[in-house]
């Protein structure tokens, strides 16, 4: 009775149509190579009188190192290398935070910078610098990342609580709540800066636009564990975030422990954002540009989106840092200016493309 129309084409034995996982796996490898290339490029980039290649080759045992001065090693290994490593960690951390947050809120416009989480994390860090001398000495180099983490955590949780009702997130509420929370955190930060003394002010100045200029191995050591933990946790969230794209109850029926998954995601977002903000201030738009480009290329499957975001985010920020160092050399632009100059038009472009879908 119900014969299929004879005209339908007969598929080959097994077609992989609509399956982008093969492409995504290639992208992982390609982006890892890109990151490596960009890292080397960043190392070599800089004042020409430093024989960067020779230092690298010597350290790899491919050059005898004759004629290299101790300052050459110092510039490469204590100034440029920590800066590259920090840039990769922070870029990756910001991009992964963005991807996680977009999955959590089920919207490609959610981003820690845009919805005020970075501002909250910044407030956490600034309060520690200005008010928390005791905490500083107690937790050492982790004081800033930890306080930024708590600032980010409170903000993310608050946002989720305000913007999500019955498992549905209103993107309008989310963005507006983000503006309010960001403004409040900014005001509180302003008050703290007002009461800060001169020494504290020097610590605070770079928070405005974000910069990798102060990179040291100590900063890397304070940032790396937290961001690496966030990277390590994110694959375990991929399946849940994919299911969440169908809504909370659908995810529950697919066997996802939804509440726990959401809590872990919020903590991971706050940790990665907090550690990034503590180390380099608020660098905007990485978390929105990188995942969005990747979704266009490999699709929204978080299994691949999250690792690819880590890799491309690292490469993107390292490149942006290269631009910020060379554009007005020998001075340098704060990197936040570079990412905003690329990211803000991009954000507008997404808005234009998605017009009408906004009240999802």
């Amino acid at each position: 009775m119900l014969q299929r129309p004879a005209a339908t084409c007969t598929a080959p034995a097994i077609s992989m149509e609509g399956d982008r996982s093969g492409r995504a796996r290639i992208a992982v490898v390609g982006l890892a190579l890109l990151l490596l290339g960009v890292a080397v490029f960043g190392l070599v980039l800089g004042a020409a009188d430093t024989p960067a290649w020779r230092v690298i080759l010597t350290r790899l045992g491919l050059d005898n190192g004759a004629g290299l001065k101790p300052t050459d090693y110092l510039i490469m290994e204590s100034i440029r290398l920590p800066r590259i490593v920090l840039g990769i960690l922070i870029g990756g951390g910001l991009a992964v935070s963005g991807a996680l947050m977009q999955g959590l809120f089920r919207n490609p416009l959610a981003d820690p910078g845009i919805v005020g989480v970075s501002a909250g994390a910044g407030l956490g860090a600034v309060s520690t610098i200005v008010l928390g001398g005791g905490i500083l000495s107690f937790t050492g180099i982790y004081a800033l990342p930890l306080s930024a983490f708590f600032g980010g955590l409170i903000t993310t949780w608050l946002l989720y609580w305000v913007a999500t009702r019955n498992g549905r997130t209103s993107i309008a509420t989310l963005l507006l709540a983000g503006i309010a929370i960001g403004a409040f955190a900014g005001a509180a930060t302003g008050v703290l800066i007002y009461i800060a003394d001169d020494a504290q002010l020097r610590d605070l100045t770079f928070w405005g636009l974000g910069s990798l200029a102060g990179a040291t191995w100590t900063k890397v050591a304070a940032t790396a564990p937290i961001i690496l933990i966030a990277f390590a946790a994110s694959p375990f969230l991929a399946r849940g975030l994919n299911a969440l794209a169908l809504g909370e109850s659908a995810a529950h029926h697919m066997g996802i422990p939804v509440q726990r998954m959401k809590n872990v995601t919020i903590v991971v977002v706050a940790a990665a954002t907090g550690a990034s903000v503590a180390a380099a201030g608020a660098i905007g738009f990485v978390g929105i540009v990188v995942p969005h480009l990747l979704r266009l290329a490999i699709g929204p499957d978080h299994k691949y989106l999250l690792p690819c975001s880590a890799l491309l985010g690292g490469a993107f920020l390292t490149l942006a840092d290269g631009v910020s160092r060379t554009l007005v050399a020998p001075a340098e632009l704060p990197i936040g200016i570079v990412t905003a100059a690329i990211g803000a038009p991009f954000f507008l472009w997404i808005l234009l493309r998605r017009r009408g879908l906004l009240d999802l």
Binding site: C9, S15, N242, H253, G299
Partner: protein
Amino acid sequence: MTIEARGIEVAYGKRRILHGVDFSARPGEVTMIIGPNGSGKTTLMRALIGEVPAKGAVSINGKALSRHAAHELAAIRAVLPQDTALAFPFTVTEVVGLGVTAGPILANAHARRQRINDALDAVDLPGFAGRYYQELSGGERQRVQLARVLCQIWNPVSHRHGPSWLFLDEPVSSLDIRHQLMIMELAANYARRGGGVIAVMHDLNLTAMFGDRITLISSGEVAATGTPQEVLQDDTLADVFGCALKVGEVPRNHLFVLPQAISAG
């Protein structure tokens, strides 16, 4: 190994929607829930799957609903909601793949792909694998979601968990007549092979044709329950739906329901 619900009461805020509903379903059968708009069909289904807090007791495969972990439940029952929104631009393959991921573990990528293709064939969407879900028509989306749900509990009976359960809230509401029949036959076939199907329906003729048992809900209470012959009575239906209906029989015990004028009630 059944679904049993006793004395289900659900309230949204102060408004009580279900007033002590008893419901049961057996594997091997298609159990239909019918009733007017707003009578509480979806609410009853949500109570049966633990989506709303409900007073009363619900058990599935001999164990209280609340004592199953989320992953345990996912292994024995899948739910097709009345409507589904999708957040990101997934392809049809990827959406159905989400169901495969939620289902029993398959040996390799080839087997997973085969499962996706089989499911797409079952809902008559060959050639749709590469399309974007967001660019499909309403009826096509509904069938993609059904394919996803099917993949989650592909086997009607599993050795470890007993019978599997398909919960379908208006599975054919936006389908053309050919696909209505096709999807109902698919559901009936799932039941013939030992699974349980619980479907909320509006089309009384499809209900008569494919329902083994019917529960008729009226204003949050069970108005009638039993076989099609027992439930599909002129007076009962006219009472509950508020319009005159004529139930007839075509050869081989097939009931049909013929609507009359509303005022004639």
